[in-house]
């Protein structure tokens, strides 16, 4: 291999620095994005596996839950039920390792914030043995202390502790419907049911200071809720190993054996106890399921996003390298004419893309490992408030991205060089290889236009494949930004429904406790409505929905809780079968239809319901009943009172002590705003990435077009074309390319977003695309602006052309 020839090539390529830099930039961006997203996807998956595992560092997450949905078992009953389940365990090959009773109740935390007393909705766990579903206290700055043992000790969730600036040794005042009591904070940690720290059925992470969870000893919770010793409302069953369970996101039944065991446990429970209960696996635990869905979503979207970036980068690299190497055609021809064989010329053209690929990949790898991956994980930690312990960028991820990048670069670089080396030298030296007959069709179409306009259009379409690829690449690059924009708009409309609610507070009450709250409301002159919320599931399906029993089912703006009826009609109370509304997510996943009758289960009790309509805007899966109908079915009157407070009336200690949780609408709106703010940062980062890629793609193509028209533009200047005329021609061309590219980008985005949403929505997390014309226009505008930005550079380039030199070139 000739060193001189390779040196010649290197110098020649160096003369087109801008194009060289753009190729290296695209490679770096592609590799960087692949490593960053890949690190995020891998880390989220392994994080949960590590947290849930049964070892000293993990929490030993149970496999089956049996939950008493309406009452509490006393100690003897709970132990007896565990004994019965153990004795009647159906599968010896998947033995039951532990059955542990657990008490989990809703409550309140009384917290003074800037001199003002706040009633913070809370969930309290009473942990006895703690062999399963332990509190997670990793060795990290987040956590400290020990588990609660005495009846006045509490371990506070880290989310709550940091949000309210509570530390070890502090005293907190908490309640569960029986007044408030003081507990000393002896530990700060996490729990599997609240890793995703939000109130029940909310996808919004709770704003600091608006939600609390704590982990008491068994005696502690008995003291708090005035319960007898050993009381429990959950039985946690831990099966040996970690058996597969049925995932909500697939149609297959992954955990067939576990499902059979759950069915058997259900039968055992029905025979052993009268209580209304539900049984579920890990998919029924909101936090666990949500985080699993999030990790799965990241794993699914990572290859799509990095695939898109790789395609965009690949197209740009291909076009640029092709152009770079084609510009070497003349030199190759001269060398061939001088008698230098292909075997001496080609090695340089293999080395060049390798070198370019290595430089770009190295930059991308360093940026991805040092900045991108940690930044993505830090963003995740910030959003969810969980320390991503032990995350790292896998070497296999780096290798994977490197190999893909080098593959694209090699194909893009070697092919044009091979093509050039096969051409006849004489043809190249005469310039005949660059002569292209213009399209007669386009000439006819544009013949009536001013000649400069016609010239602009025809010049742009001289290399139609390059133009098509450019449009495709621009469409893809804006897809990343556009998809995020559309998804955020769609999610925004989902939680925007909170603003339409006319209640100020949802007060959760113990069974039979609604009367006291209603009395308080009437005394204060507050409007009120009772509500009954109860978990249920479709017959033969383990996925849970929430049944909402409303006093008033209405779509009117003045209703306390207005619904967004998509299709069908409102149900009538007292009908047979019971009439209900179902949210569109439930309808889709269960394949239900309006007008059909289905059977729903509330624990062991079944009820036939007729679906009269579909609603939109529910965050979790929901079925709406008239409260009287639901109450007849399950034997409970109410679980919640909705309050609309008159001016000047605030919640006070009295209502705090009679409730087991209060959710204020303003807190939910604040949480949404906070989430939006955090999402905005991610959004801006993704927008920046999309715009950078779009700039690189458009600039690359438009600059290539410009440089190929150098002689044409120089001729026009020599013949007296003013710079303003050339600027107008360029502006017209760039505007047209921007508009077409922008429209294509908008179309791509809508189609792809629809596909992405359909691939990531799950039972626990469902929303639909709400395409917004403004978002599409915004996309188009971004592309047009980027395209038009090329004009000043092009004009500057032409204005500083050395016409004397150009004339000499033109004359030679």
């Amino acid at each position: 291999m000739s060193t001189l020839l390779t040196k010649r090539l290197a110098r020649s390529l160096w003369r087109t620095k801008l194009r060289l830099y753009s190729v290296i930039l695209m490679i770096a961006v592609g590799v960087f994005a692949g490593i960053s997203f890949g690190t995020y996807a891998n880390s989220t998956q392994t994080l949960y596996d590590n947290i849930y595992t049964d070892d000293e560092d993990g929490v030993n997450l149970p496999d089956i839950w049996v939950e008493n949905s309406a009452a509490t078992w006393n100690g003897a009953t709970a132990d007896s039920l565990c004994q019965t389940i153990s004795e009647q365990w159906p599968d010896a090959s998947m033995p039951l390792e532990t059955c542990e009773p657990r008490m989990v109740i809703d409550g309140l935390m009384f917290h003074i914030d800037e001199g003002e007393e706040k009633f913070i909705p809370a969930v309290w766990h009473g942990i006895d043995e703690g062999r399963v579903d332990r509190v997670w206290m990793p060795e990290d700055d987040c956590c400290s202390g020990r588990l609660a043992s005495a009846d006045d000790e509490i371990v506070l969730d880290e989310h709550a502790a940091s949000g309210m600036e509570i530390g070890l040794g502090d005293t907190v005042s908490i309640g569960a419907g029986h007044g408030s009591m003081d507990f000393t904070v002896v530990g700060i940690g996490y729990h599997s049911q609240h890793l995703f720290f939000s109130q029940m059925s909310s996808i919004l992470p709770a704003e600091p200071g608006t939600f609390a969870t704590g982990y008491l000893s068994d005696t502690g919770i008995e003291r708090l809720a005035n319960l007898s010793a050993g009381s429990a409302n959950q039985l946690l069953l831990d099966v040996a190993g970690s058996p597969e369970y049925d995932l909500q996101s697939t149609d297959e039944v992954e955990g067939e054996r576990l499902s059979e065991i759950i069915s058997s446990v259900r039968d055992t429970m029905m025979a052993a106890d009268d209580a209304s209960f539900i049984t579920y696996d890990r998919s029924g635990v909101e936090s666990v399921e949500f985080l699993r869905a999030d990790a799965e979503g990241a794993s699914k979207s990572y290859p799509i996003i990095t695939g898109m970036i790789a395609m965009v980068a690949g197209i740009t690299i291909f076009l640029s390298l092709q152009r770079l190497i084609q510009s070497q055609a003349r030199e190759i021809a001269i060398l061939r004419t001088l008698g230098i064989p292909k075997s001496a010329i080609m090695p340089g053209f293999i080395l060049a893309p390798i070198a370019i690929g290595l430089i770009g990949s190295s930059i991308g790898i360093v940026l991805g490992v040092v900045f991108g991956g940690p930044a993505m994980v830090a963003m995740y930690e910030d959003l969810l408030g969980i320390p991503a312990i032990g995350f790292h960028t896998d070497a296999s991820l780096i290798v994977q991205n490197f190999v893909i990048a080098m593959g694209i670069v090699l194909i893009a670089g070697i092919k044009p060089a091979l093509d050039a080396s096969r051409m006849q030298p004489l043809e190249i030296l005469r310039g005949q290889h660059e002569v292209r007959l213009s399209s007669r069709g386009i000439q006819r179409l544009t013949s009536r236009l001013p000649t400069t306009v016609g010239l602009t259009i025809r010049s742009s379409m001289r290399k139609p494949m390059r133009l098509i690829f450019t449009f495709f690449a621009v469409g893809l690059s804006m897809l990343i930004f556009g998809t995020m924009s559309l998804m955020m708009d769609s999610m925004g409309s989902l939680v925007g429904g909170i603003e339409d609610q006319n209640w100020d507070a949802q007060v959760n009450v113990p069974f039979g406790g609604e009367g006291a709250v209603i009395g308080w409301a009437e005394e204060k002159g507050a409007d009120h409505e009772t509500m009954l919320v109860f978990p249920g599931n479709a017959e033969g399906d383990t996925r849970q929905f929430l049944a909402y029993g409303l006093d008033v089912i209405s779509t009117g703006d003045d209703a306390m809780s207005p619904l967004n009826l998509l299709e069908g009609s409102l149900p009538v109370a007292g009908a047979t079968p019971t009439q209900v509304l179902v949210d569109e997510g439930t309808m889709m996943f269960l394949e239900w239809e309006i007008g059909h009758t289905q059977t729903v289960m509330f624990g062991p009790f079944s009820l036939d319901v007729e679906i009269t309509g579909v609603t939109r805007g529910e965050i979790s899966r929901t079925v709406y009943f008239h409260r009287s109908d639901l109450s007849d079915a399950i034997g409970l009157e109410a679980t919640t009172v909705l309050l609309s407070l008159p001016e000047g009336v605030e919640l006070d200690e009295q209502i705090g002590e009679m409730s087991i949780g209060i959710t204020q609408k303003q807190d939910m709106l604040d949480s949404f705003d906070s989430l939006l703010e955090k999402q905005q940062q991610i959004f801006n980062a993704v927008l920046g990435l999309g715009v950078i890629i779009a700039i690189a793609v458009l600039f690359n193509t438009l600059l290539m077009n410009l440089s190929e028209r150098d002689s044409e533009l120089a001729t026009l200047r020599v013949l007296g074309a003013p710079i303003s005329r050339i600027r107008s021609m360029m502006l017209g061309e760039h505007l047209a390319i921007g508009l077409i590219g922008g429209v294509l980008a908008a179309v791509f985005t809508i189609v792809m977003t629809q596909y992405l949403i359909s691939s990531i929505v799950q039972w626990a997390f469902f929303f639909t695309l709400q395409p917004d014309i403004m978002a599409a226009l915004e996309l188009i505008l971004v592309v047009v602006v980027i395209s038009v930005m090329c004009t000043p550079y092009g004009t500057w380039r032409v204005s500083r052309m050395d016409l004397v030199k150009k004339v000499k070139d033109l004359s030679q």
Partner: protein, 211 residues
């Protein structure tokens, strides 16, 4: 004179009258193209004056120089430099448009003048080199220039075609009363000129009238 300084033109004093056909001859590096560049306001002399029709020619502002070229100069290149995406007729109308308005009838007249009225809808790649050069001549006449310049305009043509192109050029210039200056190595083209100026090392070596 400091070492490293090159005098591309050295004390060139010329006065060219309207209607003259001037041929600039000389070896490579003699300053022919530099002189042509100064005359066409592509370049500015370091010292001295250049007046056109009694008025000084702009020499610093690029746009003023471009404007001067547009209004007064027609240019023919050695390699024709027609715009490949425009037909023969459109190449001529482009220049008209840049100067203020297109006139298809006049463009067709010019093509007839150069003997290409049958090729109006052809693209440059579809016609021969000689035909392309004739189109380039027609293009250079499109805005009725006062002065037509050519740099090696037969350099890419065989002798028969060169002769044909020169005859077309001379006929067009005589018809329109256009002054011509062309640069060439080819001594045989002297017969088409009315005046021959020889340059060497930036100096005028001889300036003779041709009968």
């Amino acid at each position: 004179m400091a070492s490293g300084t090159v005098r591309a033109l050295d004390g060139v004093n010329l006065e060219i009258s309207e209607g003259e056909r001037v041929i600039l001859l000389g070896p490579s590096g003699s300053g022919k193209t530099t002189l042509l560049n100064c005359i066409s306001a592509l370049d500015s002399p370091t010292a001295g004056t250049y007046t056109f029709d009694g008025s000084p020619v702009p020499r610093h502002d690029a746009e003023e120089m471009t404007s001067f070229r547009r209004e007064n100069i027609g240019y023919v290149f050695q390699f024709f430099n027609l715009l490949q995406d425009l037909t023969v007729l459109e190449n001529i109308m482009l220049i008209q448009e840049l100067s203020g308005g297109r006139d298809e009838a006049r463009a067709r007249q010019l093509l007839e003048l150069v003997g290409l009225s049958g090729e109006v809808d052809r693209f440059p790649a579809e016609i021969s080199g000689g035909q392309q050069q004739r189109v380039a001549i027609a293009r250079s006449l499109a805005k009725s220039p006062r002065l037509l310049l050519g740099d090696e305009l037969t350099g890419n043509l065989d002798s028969k075609t060169s002769a044909m192109v020169m005859e077309v050029l001379i006929k067009a210039c005589e018809t329109k009363g256009i002054t011509c200056i062309f640069v060439t190595h080819d001594e045989s083209l002297v017969e088409y000129a009315t005046r021959a100026i020889r340059l060497d090392s930036g100096r005028v070596m001889s300036d003779s009238t041709i009968e």
